[in-house]
């Protein structure tokens, strides 16, 4: 009789995990057998213990399975049985969107990149593939767009920067979710840097023509332009910042000089200015 009872207990004590569970939604685990048992649930950031009655369903509350991932359910009576189940992320409610860089020179290939990561309301990364549409717009005109399906919860793009300086709007859309970022497009290196100079009462006033990049954008104010005057008295240099598109400096050189100009690694023209 004892053996028969033991066999009944052992054969009866079992549990069946849900085949699919969604984060933040209630789920049930069915058990067989009779009598009392102890139920353990171990999962990502979760572990708890309950006394349950065998043969009844164990209800998993929504807050017990808020974190997506692998869970282990353990039922112990005379002996212990276990079952694993996976909790998937819920419906995406936010789209985290990272865009790099925050500033980019114009007309640079593969210069702008971004990655979109859908998350559910419990901050679980949604691994179920979904389509994300990326779009780059500048001055209300679409420059580039592409639809990308997420892989392992991420969708990404890489694109060239536009031709005009100014803000570049980057949007990622998945279903009814949209995230927007802005990238500042700035002028590239100066192109065709040219200077003019004339003697004044105190020296030589030298200034650039409006400084543009090769796409015609005015180079950012504050960019340093180096003027170099070489003459019989030695060399004079002034690092002057561009203001409203023009850099100017006063050189102190009484004799004849050759004045050259450079900005970063870009060289400009040379001018000759006669003696005072």
């Amino acid at each position: 009789m004892c053996l028969a009872a033991w066999a009944e207990v052992c054969s009866a004590q079992d549990l069946r995990a849900p085949t699919s569970a969604v984060a933040g939604e209630e789920a049930t685990i069915s058990t067989t057998g009779s009598g009392k048992a102890t139920f353990y649930l171990v999962g990502p950031g979760v572990s708890h213990r309950n006394d349950v009655a065998l043969g009844e369903e164990i209800h998993l509350a929504a807050q017990d399975i808020r974190n997506a991932g692998n869970y282990v359910a353990i039922l112990c009576s005379e002996s212990c049985h276990r079952a694993s189940f996976y909790v998937t992320a819920a419906k995406p409610v936010t789209l985290t969107f990272l865009v790099h860089p925050s500033r980019v020179p114009v007309a640079q290939g593969d210069a702008v990149s971004g990655v979109a990561l859908p998350f559910d309301q419990y901050h679980n990364l949604v691994l179920t593939p979904l389509n994300v549409s990326f779009e780059l717009t500048a001055k209300d005109a679409s420059l580039w767009s592409k639809s990308v399906r997420t892989q392992n919860g991420a969708a990404w793009f890489r694109a060239a920067s536009g031709k005009s300086a100014g803000p570049l709007q980057v949007a990622a859309t998945a279903d009814d979710l949209t995230a927007r970022r802005a990238v500042q497009q700035v002028a590239s290196d100066p192109c065709n840097l040219r200077i003019t100079g004339q003697r004044t009462r105190t020296g030589i006033l030298v200034q650039t023509q409006p400084v543009h990049d090769c796409a015609g954008n005015v180079v950012t104010d504050g960019t340093i332009v180096t003027f170099t005057a070489t003459g019989p008295h030695g060399t004079g240099t002034v690092d002057a910042p561009i203001k409203q598109g023009i850099a100017r400096a006063e050189m102190d050189a009484p004799g004849p000089v050759v004045i050259s100009v450079a900005s970063g690694v870009v060289m400009g023209n040379e001018i000759r200015v006669g003696a005072q």
Binding site: H100, I224, G234, V238, M251
Partner: protein, 377 residues
């Protein structure tokens, strides 16, 4: 008996002291190499003593007595003499003190002597050396220095409109969505690097540029690596770089590895770090009349003048120069602090040294001016 040895020692000491006074009195106008530890005496009966008296009183900041060693033929007022030593307008000299000196004669006659004095100052930016030729004349039986008038820049009262740019930095709040409002660090690049052995050790130098459209605070670090890939030493450019770089600005950098040579170095690992900082495009400092000369000591020196084109005083100008060979390769980076403040719209001379071994190699140079102003970071 037990006091005999002591008495003999006292007697010998006294005799030597008397003999010493007698011998120096006979020396007359003997001029020799003097160190800054010489003793101060009330009357300068020799040129050496006159220099000693003057400089010891300057060290002690005993200005009245120091000025009493200056000949009235100098035509300099005491206040100007004092200002020559203590500086003004928050210049580096204002924060310096004379630690010592060496002097040696250049020319000597019965009534006139030219002494070359090497002055050692301690300053907040490290020890600095200044070389001066002091002319001394005999006035009766006393030697006095002829102190040249120091030209003080005279800045007329004026209004200088300043319209240069300033970059301010606004940081995001804690509630900002992750990744929503990031501002990238400025993009800077090392455009040249050269490692050489020098008398003091290994030196890594070159130039770095800010390729971005915003200002950058830049530091350059170098790690020397041996054949096994193990680091030997790492150092930073410290003050031998213009840390704040405006867009497209280029600065030299130099990293010293004292007491190390490149014999065992297989690789140099460079690391440039840039952070976004608030900055101002003002003041603009021109570098005028740059030329390489040989100074009075026979050293090869890059001379020039700094011209402050703005309306604010630059308290401590710092000059950093990179020197190139025929191929445009950076062969040396040298720096020097200017110990006088750079007043608005005025010129101040500077000089930086080039090692003798490189003076024939240097073909061209590039100078940048770093500046420190009181009340500004």
């Amino acid at each position: 008996m037990k006091y005999a040895v002591a008495l003999v020692l006292v007697a010998v000491t006294a005799a030597l002291m008397v003999l010493g006074l007698f011998v120096s009195g006979q020396a007359g106008t003997t001029v020799g190499v003097t160190k800054g530890s010489a003793l101060h005496t009330s009357r300068a009966s020799t040129p050496d003593q006159a220099v000693t008296n003057l400089l010891v009183d300057v060290q002690r900041r005993n200005w009245d007595r120091a000025f009493s060693n200056v000949s009235s033929a100098s035509g300099i007022r005491e206040q100007a003499f004092i200002q020559d030593w203590i500086g003004s307008n928050g210049g580096l000299r204002s924060f310096s003190s004379l630690e010592g000196y060496d002097s040696r004669p250049l020319h000597a006659s019965n009534d006139e002597v030219e002494m070359r004095v090497r002055l050692h100052f301690s300053t907040p930016v490290g020890p600095l050396e200044d070389v001066r030729d002091i002319h001394l004349i005999r006035e009766g039986d006393v030697w006095k220095a002829v102190w040249p008038k120091v030209p003080v820049p005279s800045v007329p009262a004026q209004v200088v409109p300043v319209t240069y740019l300033r970059w301010d930095l606004v940081t995001g709040g804690v509630d900002d969505e992750w990744g929503a409002k990031n501002v990238d660090a400025p993009h800077v690049r090392i455009i040249s690097m050269n490692a050489v052995d020098s008398a003091e050790g290994a030196v890594v130098m070159g130039e770095v540029t800010n390729e971005d459209s915003i200002p950058a605070f830049v530091t350059v670090n170098a790690t020397l690596v041996d054949g096994s890939g193990n680091p030997i030493d790492d150092e930073s450019s410290f003050d031998k770089i213009a840390h704040v770089l405006l867009p497209k600005q280029i600065t030299p950098y130099r990293i010293d590895f004292p007491n190390l040579n490149l014999k065992n170095v297989k690789n140099v690992r460079m690391d440039v770090k840039a952070t976004l900082v608030p900055a101002s495009a003002d003041p603009v400092i021109g570098v005028m009349n740059q030329r390489i000369d040989t100074d009075v000591q026979g050293k090869s020196v890059l001379h020039g003048e700094l011209l402050n084109q703005s309306g604010q005083t630059v308290n401590i100008p710092h000059v950093i120069a990179s020197f190139y060979d025929n191929n445009g390769k950076v062969v040396w980076v040298s720096d020097g602090y200017v110990d006088r403040a750079l007043l608005p719209q005025s010129l101040e001379p500077f000089a930086v040294e080039i090692p003798k071994s490189l003076s024939a190699t240097v073909h061209s140079f590039h100078v940048v001016v770093n500046q420190f102003s009181l009340g500004k970071s």
